[in-house]
């Protein structure tokens, strides 16, 4: 106790005044800095400090535009980051900018409250002017432009060139039709006795088959039409790989692991996976356009995500617009192309090595990923995927499975 008494510090009137003045000065300066430098959260699911998403954010912050973008990786799937965004919105603190999957576009507009970029006047228009008209259509939901078309990918055929050479096939002459592909893979299987093909069992790749056969999953009015004769034909071609024993359906991560380990000759997956797959593989990979169906016009689909503004207050919205403005520049897009996503802008940027087939597919024209409308759209999507899985696993025939999907989806999209 005595020690404490002795250690008491006496503060004189002058010292006290000085401290008060300096505290006030710091507060004023701090307040000024806060109002001049808005901070916005950019929610995404891309991991790694050197991921192009982080690099874009870093490059934006380096510009010192009075807005600090804070990277928030809040999960590894669209659903996971959407859950957290919803919690933030419910608490009155929505993320300023969020990465949103195409399939969630309707949900983003109606439920998350994604802002129409055109409401930001000239700034909004100027941002959109940087993008190709064909991809702006992908983010136009019921007349609203709900974000910038940031990440665009398309299903392409990945080839292990060593397997093709070992089977006496020319990796430069990749089949352009599914019928030819299956024939070639049959030959390859006989020679190499390896797993020769894998597709993803989801809604995306079957959509490519259905569209290439002349069908659709949902029509323009959002009604399910996946049981049309053309759609049935497309799905039959999809599962033909299994009935011909060229494809033993496996999960996505298993497919990627097997391909990277050199145990799989070909797989169909997103063009955006190229850099990741290449980094883990010790053989030469070639990407080819996804083969079409003989005698039917090609109509390939796309996937990926857009950046939407979820901020509700004016200051956050203005700061988010600044960020999107930067994302639309050649500088940002050049960094972003390091992911393997396609260039959605009008900027003339070099095509990354190996992505020529994906760009050729883009040049042919891509349709959007199916957008599942309505409050129960995501449920409808899951019901559709479950029916696709039943078809692939042979639990139901293709016509019955697609009919089952239509009935299930129709109930949910009322």
């Amino acid at each position: 106790m005595t020690g404490m008494k002795n250690s008491k510090i006496k503060i004189g009137r002058r010292a006290a005044l000085g401290m008060g003045v300096s505290t006030a000065a710091v507060m004023v300066a701090g307040g000024a800095a806060r109002s001049a430098n808005a901070s916005i959260d950019i929610v995404h699911f891309f991991s790694g400090a050197d991921h192009p998403m982080e690099l874009v954010i870093k490059a934006f912050n380096a510009k010192n535009l009075g807005v600090t973008a804070v990277s928030r990786q809040e999960g590894t799937t669209y659903e996971a980051i959407t859950q957290k965004a919803m919690a933030g919105i419910a608490a009155g603190r929505p993320p300023a900018v969020m990465t949103t999957g195409w399939k969630l576009a309707s949900f983003a507009k109606h439920t998350l409250g994604a802002q129409d970029l055109r409401q930001f006047g000239a700034d909004g228009g100027a941002i959109i002017d940087n993008y190709k008209e064909s991809v702006v259509k992908l983010v136009t939901i019921e007349g609203s432009i709900v974000g910038i078309p940031w990440a665009l990918s398309t299903p392409v055929l990945y080839i292990n060139t060593e397997h093709w050479k070992a089977a006496g096939l020319d990796p430069a002459a990749i089949p352009t039709t599914i019928e030819d592909l299956y024939a070639k893979l049959g030959q390859m299987q006989q020679k190499t006795n390896k797993a020769v093909l894998a597709y993803e069992v989801n809604e995306w790749e079957p959509q490519a088959f259905i569209q290439n056969a002349g069908g659709d999953v949902l029509d323009g009015a959002g009604k399910p039409v996946m049981d049309s004769a053309a759609a049935v034909y497309g799905m039959q071609k999809f599962v033909e790989a299994k009935t011909r024993k060229l494809w033993n359906p496996i999960g996505l991560s298993e497919m990627l692991t097997a391909f990277q380990a050199g145990a799989l000759s070909a797989m169909v997956t997103s063009s955006a996976r190229l850099s990741g797959v290449k980094a883990q593989s010790a053989f030469e990979i070639k990407l080819a356009k996804m083969p079409g169906l003989e005698g039917r016009p090609r109509r390939m689909n796309s996937g990926g995500n857009f950046l939407s503004i979820l901020a509700r207050n004016k200051e956050q919205q203005a700061a988010a617009v600044q960020f999107l403005k930067f994302c639309a520049t050649p500088e940002a897009m050049k960094i972003w192309l390091g992911t393997g996503y396609l260039n959605t802008t009008k900027h003339d940027l070099p095509i990354p090595a190996g992505q020529e087939a994906a760009y050729a597919q883009l040049a042919d024209g891509l349709t959007p990923e199916t957008v599942w409308p309505g409050a129960r759209g995501l449920e409808a999507l899951k019901a559709h995927i479950d029916w696709i899985s039943r078809i692939v696993n042979g639990s139901v025939s293709v016509p019955d499975g697609l009919k089952g999907s239509k009935e299930a989806v129709a109930k949910l999209l009322v």
Binding site: M86, I89, A90, N248, I250, E254, T257, A258, R376, K382
Partner: protein
């Protein structure tokens, strides 16, 4: 100075615990039951009265019924397995005289329990990989047919059950081993002097004496199988192919946080609470009379 006396003192001491349980367990349960009668838009904070419609649509949903059936299978398979096998191993471990070996066994059996689901999941995904995985490589090497494991609707549930067993049995094993070690030596010696063989000793002396532990693990294993298996399901199969490996809690997660249908998810949660409450009550009714606490 003041002194706390009588029943007020007791209330004061238990008040923090009661308050926490009331606020964080019972209040949410009551609110959940309330939400289950509405269509709740979290973002607009709008409630639309739906009556029992959420319950009817849940019971009518084929995915719910399949999740319910799967939960029954998981319980029927895993509860006996996670009680009987660790008990058997605990008995065997007690017969091992080498202390170092006992510690090694204990560690080996317990490690899966403390490994996180995400790490265990990655390892098991690699093991189950139909093309480059260890299991098929091994099967092919010994001339057996390879399988699609997690991708096969007829096998996915069994793969999940196997991994859940591997992940969970160590905890019960440690509890049984500790309980068996705690049996008074003189009781065991008396049984030996009376000529009881190992089987008689186990069935008549040791198992009855560890009955509180057996009862405790019986109740907790049911809860663990209902609840914690979700981690394995999520990492390995996400409930697929087409819900063939899902369970009730995973179905609840899917409705609430993937499809954002909170009203129906609340109805599912209420049904799960009811099922767990009935199951636990039945366990108490059926088995508590056999438990000896002295």
């Amino acid at each position: 100075m003041f002194a706390l006396q009588g029943r007020y003192a007791a209330w004061l001491f238990v008040a923090p615990a009661i308050l926490l349980v009331a606020v964080f367990i019972y209040l949410p349960m009551v609110l959940n039951v309330g939400v289950s009668f509405y269509d709740w838009s979290v973002l607009r904070n709008e409630f639309t009265w739906k009556g029992v419609e959420n319950y009817l649509s849940t019971l009518d949903n084929i995915d719910f019924r399949s999740a319910f059936a799967n939960t029954a299978i998981y319980l029927a398979v895993l509860v006996p397995a996670q009680i009987a096998l660790p008990l058997l191993l605990a008995f065997l471990m007690l017969r091992v005289r080498n202390r170092l070996l006992v510690r090694a066994y204990r560690a080996a059996y317990f490690i899966p329990t403390i490994v996180s689901f995400s790490i265990a999941g990655v390892v098991w995904l690699w093991m189950f990989n139909p093309i480059v995985g260890f299991l098929n490589t091994f099967f092919e090497a010994i001339g057996l047919q390879s399988h699609r494991w997690l991708n096969d609707p007829d096998m996915a549930l069994w793969c999940v059950a196997a991994v859940a067993f591997w992940k969970g049995f160590g905890l019960n094993l440690i509890l049984y081993a500790a309980a068996l070690v705690g049996i008074p030596r003189e009781v065991v010696e008396a049984a030996d002097l009376d000529g009881a063989g190992p089987w008689t000793r186990a069935l008549r002396i040791e198992i009855p004496m560890i009955s509180p532990t057996l009862f405790f693990t019986g109740v907790t294993t049911v809860l663990i199988v209902m609840d914690e298996i979700v981690g394995v399901v999520d990492v390995l199969t996400e409930g697929g192919p087409y819900n063939s490996s899902s369970n009730l809690v995973y179905y609840l997660y899917d409705r609430a946080f993937r499809q954002f249908n909170f009203g129906e998810a609340a109805a599912v949660a209420t049904l799960i609470i009811a099922i767990v409450a009935v199951a636990t009550w039945l366990q108490f009714r059926a088995f508590e009379r056999y438990v000896h606490y002295q």
